[in-house]
């Protein structure tokens, strides 16, 4: 296991350093062309340069995401008793800049559980940020965070529900794949790593996640953060 971890670490290091170098050159030199040679370039040439530069930035974001995902697999879990309500509050606080005034957020009862607070906060951040993104254009956007009644000693099922654009259930199997997206990035920006990270964190805790949605009606993500007895 230690060998495997070392290898992963070396891989991540190499990704972050060696893959970034050529991107940096592409982005840096196209920026110089755009900023210092613009008068000599036709409108079309400037546009193509912008495409080159935007794509190099996108590549850089994808690398950051891959690294985040690989780091998740490696760092040991720091488990303790957590109050999910506190994590939700902290996540909502972090997301304030993305939050439109007219999004109504409702937080229901969230029973405590055992887990790594930093990683589980990331679960709520990613799920809530998706909900904000996909419901933000509704005249009355609504996000609900809650849990199902716990039945005799079983792990709690938590959910994050929104009334956003939803998706077709026949694509649901793709939701948690790395860099999989169900919406065009021109319409809803993102690299498609958020839910893959959520799933990886929950799996490491022995939990699971599933989704229910309808186009135009919204989506509900339900999950457990502990092994189900």
């Amino acid at each position: 296991l230690e060998d495997a971890n070392h290898e992963l670490e070396a891989f991540a290091y190499s990704v972050s350093h060696d893959l970034r170098a050529p991107i940096r050159a592409i982005h840096g030199f196209s920026r110089i062309l755009m900023e210092e040679y613009a008068p000599e370039l036709s409108g079309m040439a400037q546009h193509y340069l912008e495409v080159v530069s935007d794509n190099s930035l996108q590549m850089s974001l994808l690398i950051d995401d891959l690294l985040a995902l690989s780091r998740l697999g490696r760092q040991p879990l720091q488990k303790q008793t957590i109050q999910p309500a506190e994590l939700v509050a902290a996540a909502l606080h972090d997301l304030e800049p993305e939050m439109a005034l007219r999004i109504h957020v409702e937080v229901g009862e969230l029973p405590p559980c055992e887990g790594d607070p930093i990683l589980l906060k990331q679960v709520f951040i990613n799920l809530l940020s998706n909900s904000i993104k996909y419901s933000g254009r509704r005249a009355e956007a609504r996000i609900e965070i809650g849990s199902l009644p716990v039945e005799g000693g079983r792990a709690a099922v938590y959910f994050v529900r929104d009334n956003g654009v939803g998706f077709e259930m026949r694509h649901a199997h793709k939701l948690f794949g790395v860099f999989q997206r169900l919406h065009h990035s021109a319409e809803y920006p993102g690299t498609g790593i958020g839910l893959a990270i959520v799933q990886r964190i929950l799996h490491r805790h022995g939990g699971r996640i599933w989704a229910q949605a309808e186009v135009g009606q919204g989506a509900t993500f339900s999950f457990t953060m502990e092994p189900e007895a």
Binding site: S16, H17, R20, A21, R24, H27, G28, F29, I32, L67
Partner: protein
């Protein structure tokens, strides 16, 4: 061999070196920049050994701009050796890395590097870091000559 050097840029990636030089020139910091491509040559230059054996040991660079990942001798080792020697200890060092996540950045700081810049370079932040270190380096070498 005895050319005066304000900034010693130690960078093995030619594109990165060219970009860095471009930024330095744009900020009017490009005069007297010397580029070397590995840690061994950087050490030779500051300690006047190897190809630089005939260099005047008082003619130190005013600052080092150092990539951490270098051929032959890596950046951390350059920081360690420069800071361990009384002759070169006062030279301010700014280190470069591709990633903020880099553990070596912290290590470089602990060894005495003055500041670090993460690539892709934020041109303005980078220029400020260089300017600050350069001022300090000039003050230090001025004191040494008195």
């Amino acid at each position: 061999v005895n050319q005066a050097v304000d900034i010693l840029l130690v960078e093995d990636n030619p594109s990165d070196a060219e970009l860095t030089l471009h930024v330095l020139e744009g900020q009017r910091l490009g005069r007297r920049v010397k580029v070397v491509y590995d840690g061994a040559e950087a050490l030779d230059l500051i300690f006047c050994t190897g190809a630089y054996a005939n260099r005047d040991p008082h003619n130190l660079p005013k600052m080092l701009l150092l990539d951490l990942r270098l051929p032959k001798v890596d950046g951390l080792e350059v920081v360690r050796r420069a800071k361990a020697d009384a002759r070169t200890r006062a030279i301010p060092i700014v280190v470069f890395s591709s990633s903020l996540d880099d553990r070596d950045l912290k290590a470089a700081r602990e060894l005495g590097a003055r500041s670090y810049v993460v690539k892709p370079v934020d041109f303005r932040q980078f220029a400020e870091a260089v300017r600050g270190a350069l001022l300090l380096g000039k003050a230090a070498s001025g004191k040494a000559q008195q």
